[in-house]
């Protein structure tokens, strides 16, 4: 029964994709009906599956042989356990809500059919990744997810920036996928299996301990995977693509770049966390190192969020920062806490993005001040949603973010990992600062009388909220309020939750983190609302520039590409013209005719190619002979 439900969950989006491609591309209504039906089927099935789980040890796996006949080799199938079902539920509910929302958001777009087809394709890939029972299927769907993201970011392809951002996202994440591929090869050649269950079962065995360069397989596979995770989940040093990906339609940002795709890396870590449970000292060190990198990423990107003026970019950097928290949780061994934050974050970040989308849709601008000027604060429901989402993001009681962030903090506290704990608290402060800043900027409309958009005209004039947007916003706002409690209520069915050994740890961390968040929000209010404090960025101009330039990371990439990649290609191009020619022409007469040889650098001469061939053949023979 569960198997059938699982299959139905995963296959309905791809069916929807095929159907839309076949009949719905020119008929938006048909496309919408198909897509939403499929999303509903997925949601119902995924919810039934999740509610049916009563035991953390629950596990059902079904596989079919695929690439080869031998079923022990390459299979596809589905692995249903609490981890995958939680993720499946998150993906299906967020995609369901986002599709409702898109009904309004995309209603003026001529190519809605295509949009819904792409969304369906993406959902299929994401769900296929979630239920993958082995690394190969994971990788396949992982790449397909990347492709879906590429298509959706570049959906508005009349914007050159969208096309560039799409390409950037695809290539940067694919750079990380080199790591995934290497992990795949390592696991396959070293362990002889790609199945998660088999790998976990073998993790204590001798093959895992077989040393490569002094450490066991777990370490190398983990390190290779970290690269992939850094790409997909936008961690240092591969995070630069995510803010640019905001060029896509906002529902896409909510679905892909807040709730699901970027969480795929976190999920993969959780899936592979058996390495940590059973693995060696070295593996634990490596994962802890990853946690430190993620924490640093969280602080860096949180700082960048402070100076952004584009509302979507604020939330994009915030997403990077929150993903960092999740990875900190999983990297230090608190899988349940990390997954809890993934769960709650999906709701409140989707809510924030959809709210941003509502403002953008209404005000036709991404800039926070423009939205405020256009009277964004007059939109009741979005303002309420923004408030709820922000409270959850900042981690105030009783909103969802409070519980999940505290779970991670508490774990760090109990473990006595004071450095990470301190950094995490700093992160809480920064989060509260930039999140409340958005609200204050919205409420405190800067007066610009010489522009036509005065307060007098701004009585919601021209501003309206799409009718289909209300349901998702309302629902997500509600979920952001209760998701944490739901998790606490149900999670013992899903995960083995360790009881805190120090009885007061939960209380202490809750109080400390709330106090710090409140301090952040209060300081932000002094700066941006009451304007009694000077903007600290104004006094730290150097630092502010650093933030505005996003730590110069983009420039660093460009520098690498320009100073490294392009010259290499240029160099190789010249191998045929200068080096080969130089070798032929220049042996023995270098000093005399070096300059002339370059000046005369004619190209395309067949005899230079011949010379190269002769030399290579001779060199190969010579090297082989002297062995």
């Amino acid at each position: 029964m569960q198997i059938q439900l699982g299959i139905a969950t995963v296959l309905s989006p791809i069916l929807s994709f095929v159907l839309i491609a076949a009949v719905g591309l020119r008929r938006p209504t048909v496309a919408k009906i198909i897509s939403l039906t499929a999303a509903t089927v997925s949601l119902v099935c995924a919810s039934m599956l999740l509610l049916g789980v009563n035991d953390p040890a629950f596990k059902i796996q079904a596989t079919w042989s695929w690439l080869m006949d031998d079923p022990s080799k390459f299979t596809i199938g589905l692995l249903l356990d609490p981890l995958s079902l939680v993720m499946l539920f998150v993906v299906s509910i967020i995609s369901w809500l986002v599709q409702w929302y898109s009904l309004s958001y995309m209603e003026e777009d001529a190519r809605q059919g295509k949009f819904f087809a792409f969304i369906s394709l993406f959902c299929f890939a994401m769900m296929g990744f979630t239920i993958a029972p082995n690394l190969l299927q994971s990788f396949m769907c992982w790449e397909l997810v990347g492709l879906g993201s590429y298509l959706l970011i570049g959906f508005w392809n009349h914007l050159p920036s969208a096309a560039t951002a799409a390409r950037k996202a695809f290539i940067v994440t694919r750079l990380g996928d080199v790591g995934f591929f290497i992990a795949l090869l390592l696991a396959w050649t070293g362990l002889g299996t790609l199945d998660f269950g088999a790998m976990a079962g073998d993790a204590m065995s001798a093959t895992w301990k077989a040393a490569i360069g002094g450490s066991d397989y777990g370490v190398w596979i983990s390190i290779a995977l970290f690269l992939a995770v850094a790409g997909k989940s936008a961690q240092f040093p591969l995070y630069a693509w995510l803010p640019d990906a905001m060029e896509g339609p906002t529902p896409v940002s909510a679905l892909i770049h807040a709730a699901t795709m970027v969480a795929a890396g976190v999920y993969l870590l959780a899936r592979m966390s058996f390495v940590l449970v059973l693995g060696s000292e070295a593996a634990i060190m490596a994962w802890h190192g990853l946690a430190v990198i993620a924490m640093i990423t969280a602080l860096m990107s949180g700082a960048v969020a402070i100076v952004q003026s584009d509302i979507k970019r604020v939330f994009a950097y915030s997403t990077i920062s929150q993903l960092g928290y999740m990875i900190v949780g999983i990297g230090t061994g608190a899988v349940a806490a990390g997954m809890m934050h993934l769960f709650t974050h999906a709701f409140f970040k989707a809510l924030l993005f959809l709210t941003a989308g509502a403002f953008i849709h209404a005000a036709h601008s991404n800039s926070i001040t423009d939205i405020a000027r256009a009277g964004g604060a007059k939109l009741k429901l979005p303002m309420m949603a923004l408030f709820v989402g922000s409270m959850a993001l900042m981690g105030f009681f009783p909103f969802a973010g409070f519980y999940s962030k505290d779970a991670i903090l508490e774990h760090l506290f109990v473990e006595g990992d004071w450095i990470l704990f301190g950094m995490a608290l700093l992160g809480v402060f920064i989060t509260a600062y930039y999140t409340s800043r958005v609200i204050y900027l919205m409420l405190k409309v800067p007066a610009e009388p010489h522009q036509g958009h005065g307060d007098e005209h701004g009585h919601g004039h021209g501003l309206h909220l799409g009718s289909w947007m209300k349901l998702p916003l309302g629902f997500l706002a509600f979920a952001s309020l209760v998701a944490g409690n739901v998790w606490l209520w149900k999670a013992h069915n899903w995960f083995v939750i360790p009881e805190a050994e120090h009885g007061n740890a939960a209380l202490i961390t809750a109080l400390v983190s709330t106090a710090i968040a409140a301090a952040g929000a209060f300081y932000s209010a002094r700066v941006f609302y009451w304007r009694t404090s000077a903007d600290p960025m104004a006094s730290m101009t150097g630092f502010a520039t650093l933030l505005r330039e996003k730590w110069y990371l983009d420039d660093a990439y460009w520098a690498i590409v320009h100073n490294f990649y392009l010259p290499i290609t240029a160099f190789l191009q010249k191998v045929e013209t200068i080096i080969v020619k130089g070798a032929l022409d220049g042996i023995g007469t270098v000093s005399m005719t070096f300059a002339r040889g370059f000046a005369r650098a004619q190209t395309g001469e067949v005899q230079h190619y011949l010379g190269m061939s002769f030399v290579v053949v001779a060199a190969v023979v010579l090297i082989l002979m002297s062995r």
């Binding site: 090869l185 061939s613 190969v620």
Partner: protein, 474 residues
């Protein structure tokens, strides 16, 4: 014997029929094309009919086995696809078209001989037959005088490679006393008194194949030849003619590898240089055909890497990738051909807005390019996976890591084309592409790439069932 050599006889018959039919030059071009298509279909049927044949023939100098017969099917399929997709022969001068069809089958025959050659003598005769046909085909181009230039470079590099190779054969003969591969293996097993000659001989023989594959250091002819030859010829060069080199080189490598581990390293290093070179230089190209020439150089590098893989998995990997390599290049060049209808050489600019001009073709291009770049779940990913995992199992994990990096690099220029095709604006002077003659063929091939990616088992299992490791060893 007639039945055993059915595909060869079919190609030979096709060659002779075309020779006599077009002898007086009184057959219309259209009729000649239909005859070619029918004959290539006949060759394909013959190749399929002969797929179970096996045996050593002609004093052990010609070997039929599952490996060679499968490659013959691939080649026959490639011939037919070329006849079908290369339909608009506009860029070949009218007076030379009958010769073109004639050479087309001569090359086809030579490729099939190469797949089965089991003696250096047969190998050389077949190789020269193939080379001469291709030299001539490359030079057939009306619009561009440079085609003769690339033909000259092609023949000079080719003649040098074959002279080096022949000299290598003479050393191998000195070491073994025979031209048969069986004798070569025997003397590799034992240590004959003259085994010092074997290794230089083998390396020099290798150069002939590196030339055929357009691999470093004999790659230099490929970009020129692809760019300036008329597009049907470029498609022929990129798709089918490479299969011959792959088929033979792998047979040799597979036989020699167990006895000469250094040979493996040499092939691996040459493979890495080849793919890096191809991928990096491709990035700077503006002519699309030239770009695909470098891309196919890089693909040959991946194939060579797979050749040194783990003994039992390498054959399936190499043959699988050869098959999809054929498909991908057919699609890509079919699109180039469609763009070339009015005789201009397609540049990156002519791909601008392809999606708006002809969505089917843009889709086909997207699938083929992503498959070439190895994006799952397309066939190219599985081909690469098989090649790389085979090489990794063979203990070449660092080579593999480098090759994976390479395949990411390649995504850069493939995405350039995708970006132009999907996100670019249609140039003003662009001709409408509504009625493509070969739409169905393109569509079918594209679907095949996608299906082989989603369900590669149909092919991998069939290939595993053919038991190449046993059939490849003498």
């Amino acid at each position: 014997m007639m039945l055993q050599l059915l595909p060869e006889f079919a190609a030979l018959g096709a060659l002779l029929i075309l020779f006599f039919v077009t002898l007086g030059n009184n057959v219309s071009d259209r009729a000649a094309r239909w005859i070619t298509l029918a004959l290539s279909g006949f060759v394909l049927v013959a190749a399929i009919a002969a797929q179970d044949q096996s045996g050593l023939m002609f004093a052990n100098s010609y070997k039929l086995d599952t490996y060679s017969q499968f490659f013959k099917i691939l080649m026959a399929f490639g011939l037919m696809a070329n006849a079908l997709l290369g339909w608009p022969l506009r860029s070949v001068p009218t007076a030379q078209r009958s010769e073109y069809y004639f050479l087309f089958f001569a090359a086809g025959l030579a490729m099939m001989l190469l797949a089965s050659a089991f003696s250096f003598l047969v190998l050389y005769v077949a190789m020269e037959l193939l080379s001469y046909s291709l030299y001539t085909m490359v030079g057939m181009r009306r619009a561009r005088t440079e085609s003769i230039e690339s033909s000259v470079k092609y023949i000079i590099i080719g003649a040098t490679a074959s002279a080096i190779g022949l000299f290598g054969v003479s050393y191998i003969y000195g070491a073994t006393g025979s031209l048969n591969f069986g004798a070569l293996i025997d003397s590799l097993k034992g240590t004959t008194t003259h085994s010092a000659l074997l290794m230089p001989g083998l390396v020099m023989v290798l150069s002939s194949f590196l030339f055929k594959l357009a691999a470093f250091p004999f790659h230099a002819w490929a970009p020129d030849a692809y760019e300036t030859a008329s597009s049907p010829v470029a498609m022929f060069l990129a798709s089918v003619s490479k299969l011959a080199g792959i088929a033979f080189l792998f047979r040799l490598v597979y036989m020699v590898k167990p006895y000469m581990p250094e040979f493996e390293t040499v092939i691996g290093i040459l493979a890495l240089i080849t793919m890096t070179f191809g991928n990096l230089v491709a990035f700077r190209q503006t002519s699309v055909k030239r770009l695909f020439a470098y891309s196919s150089i890089a693909q040959a590098g991946y194939l060579m890497l797979g050749m040194i893989g783990f003994g039992d998995s390498a054959p399936v990997a190499v043959v699988f990738y050869s098959a999809i390599y054929l498909l991908m290049n057919l699609v890509v060049f079919a699109v180039v051909l469609e763009l070339e209808r009015y005789g201009e050489d397609p540049t990156l600019a002519s791909f601008q807005g392809l999606y708006k001009r002809n969505a089917l073709m843009a889709m086909a291009l997207l699938v083929a390019l992503f498959s070439l770049a190895g994006v799952p779940p397309l066939a190219g990913f599985f081909g690469k996976w098989l090649l790389f995992s085979s090489a990794a199992q063979g203990g070449h994990i660092w080579f593999v890591a480098f090759a994976i990096l390479n395949s990411v690099l390649s995504l850069y220029y493939y995405l350039f084309l995708v970006k132009a095709a999907y996100f670019g604006d249609v140039p003003k002077e662009a001709v409408s592409l509504d009625k493509g003659g070969s739409r169905i063929a393109i569509l079918v091939t594209t679907i095949a790439i996608a299906l082989l990616g989603l369900y590669p088992r149909v092919l991998t299992e069939y290939l595993t069932g053919l038991n190449f490791p046993r059939s490849l060893l003498p």
